[in-house]
Symmetry: C2
Subunit: 316 residues, 2 copies
């Protein structure tokens, strides 16, 4: 069973790490959001890609979910002492990655080639692809702060501004990274990781060509919202600010046109009933991933669901 | 007595640190070579400026003369592990400076404004000016390696290639940084620090307008060559490769059109006699700077010489 997972953010990274532990690497491709990429100090920074790669490589900081374990902060502290911004926390090891990525981009390498090389170095076995090699910054439209760059909203302002909408700048002109469409076309199932539907999965779906392929595919999504809340991140807050009650149901509604299956927490069994009535196969389970065993268990359950759906052997 | 010192490299940095300890800060302006500036990882790196500033700020690594004390190397090690170059040794703290400088340049600040701000942060009292805010890379023409960027020659290839000449790219189109010409015009004495005449002082003299002002000024130079050798760096090797016997005499010859005074080591008293015959006031002293006391003593002796020259009270 060939699986393509769409992912972004810490929850997405944890889930695809689980997947990488339960299915053969050659059967797994991970397409990562790059809408939250940005430039700081002249360096190209790709937070979602790096979180996914650090997690898969076993290098991630288990406390924060982002950045690297055993990190030091000398460079950023020095820059800050000279008047530089320090709201985006870049550790020294993390910085080394940004330096080398930036150097290679200046030499003309594509982001996807670079990610591929880094994955080889880090012995990451599944295929990890950025959604595009283009520059498609996610902009957050807010009530009181105007239009913000994503990291400005997400990290500097800690998601405090009230959101009124999103724009994926230039996304209509970008193309999927090499390998993205072919991986999707040959996938048996596409899984939307428990990532933010607005700003992690949303940008991937907005890359020209991706949604078109997905409409002919078996898609299973995992709700990042549990009992109206998120484990981390602003997805629930965004739904509320956009006038939608945050819930697993809202997530299923969000993705409805694509879905064959949907995974939500046991706490959301009322939502499960409604979604099932739409003809979507629903799995209720424990969806919080507190440790590696949780990631692995959730991933295994999701793959079992996927097999049932594509095998036509549906749960009762 | 208003002094302007031209400097580049570790020897130059040590000497101007000595000067800063023996004359009032408001009377000292240091003009630093920027011909060895380059880009790595997309960052603007200014080795001579940084060596001068780190030395004046008391942040320099006393072992190496360049870079910072108590440095860590996480970022460069990570970049290298991903295939990046690590021949130019950038520590994490040093990197923080490059990050912030690069960020400010992208915002439109001039290098001289940035240096001024950093000097304020570091409580560096003398005025430190880059020779120009322009980009004027020193190229090293070599017998067997073609034309090399300066750091490529100096650091990566450890000065091994045989030099056939130098080119200061675009220097004819650059202008001195704001404050450079006015500092030179109001100087009582201009001192050429014991820096490499070819690639540290040479680029400064090649900035349009600087040599013209210097011809009407009292100039005192300190030989970086002692008994045919340099304490560090390739100045002596360069003279030899260009067909000139490396010596204090060769340095005096190099600068002859500008010189009122010349400082050399006691080991070079034969050279001293010849230079004195040209009508240049010569000071023989111990010119190796092994510690801060040496820097201070040498600087004091040089300032005494300067005073004698401009006061007309010449040594016998």
């Amino acid at each position: 069973m060939k699986i393509v997972a769409l992912a972004g953010g810490v929850g997405g990274a944890k889930f695809v790490d689980g997947l990488s532990r339960v299915i053969p690497s050659e059967d797994l491709t991970i397409i990562v959001n790059t809408g939250d990429d940005f430039n700081l100090f002249g360096l190209r920074i790709c937070p979602d890609l790096d979180t996914v790669c650090y997690t898969l490589a076993g290098l991630a900081n288990p406390e924060t979910g982002w950045g690297r374990e055993n990190e030091t902060w000398s460079a950023l502290e020095t820059a800050a002492s000279l008047g530089g911004p320090n709201w985006f926390h870049i550790g020294d090891r993390d910085l080394g990655l940004h330096l080398e990525r930036t150097r290679r981009i200046a030499l003309g390498q594509s982001l996807s080639e670079i990610v591929s090389d880094f994955c080889t170095t880090w012995k990451i076995a599944p295929t990890v692809l950025p959604m595009t090699d283009g520059i498609v910054p996610t902009l957050v439209e807010t009530k009181d702060y105007g239009i913000l760059g994503f990291q400005d909203y997400f990290v500097r302002l800690r998601c405090a501004p009230v959101v009124t909408g999103f724009k994926f700048q230039n996304i209509e002109y970008c193309t999927p990274a090499l390998g993205v469409l072919s991986a999707l076309q040959s996938a048996d199932v596409v899984i939307f990781a428990p990532s933010n539907p607005w700003v992690s999965i949303g940008p991937i779906l907005a890359v020209p060509g991706i949604s078109e392929v997905l409409r002919s595919k078996t898609v299973v999504a995992i709700s990042p919202i549990i009992n109206g809340k998120t484990v981390r991140g602003p997805a629930a807050k965004m739904y509320a600010e956009l006038g939608i009650t945050p819930s697993a149901l809202a997530v299923a509604e969000h993705y409805r046109e694509f879905l064959s299956g949907f995974v939500l927490d046991r706490l959301d069994s009322e939502d499960a009933k409604i979604i099932a009535r739409w003809g979507i196969i629903v799995l209720e389970t424990d969806s919080i991933m507190s440790n590696v065993a949780d990631r692995q268990r959730l991933a295994r359950e999701v793959t079992v669901l996927c097999r049932k759906i594509i095998g036509g052997s549906l749960p009762a």
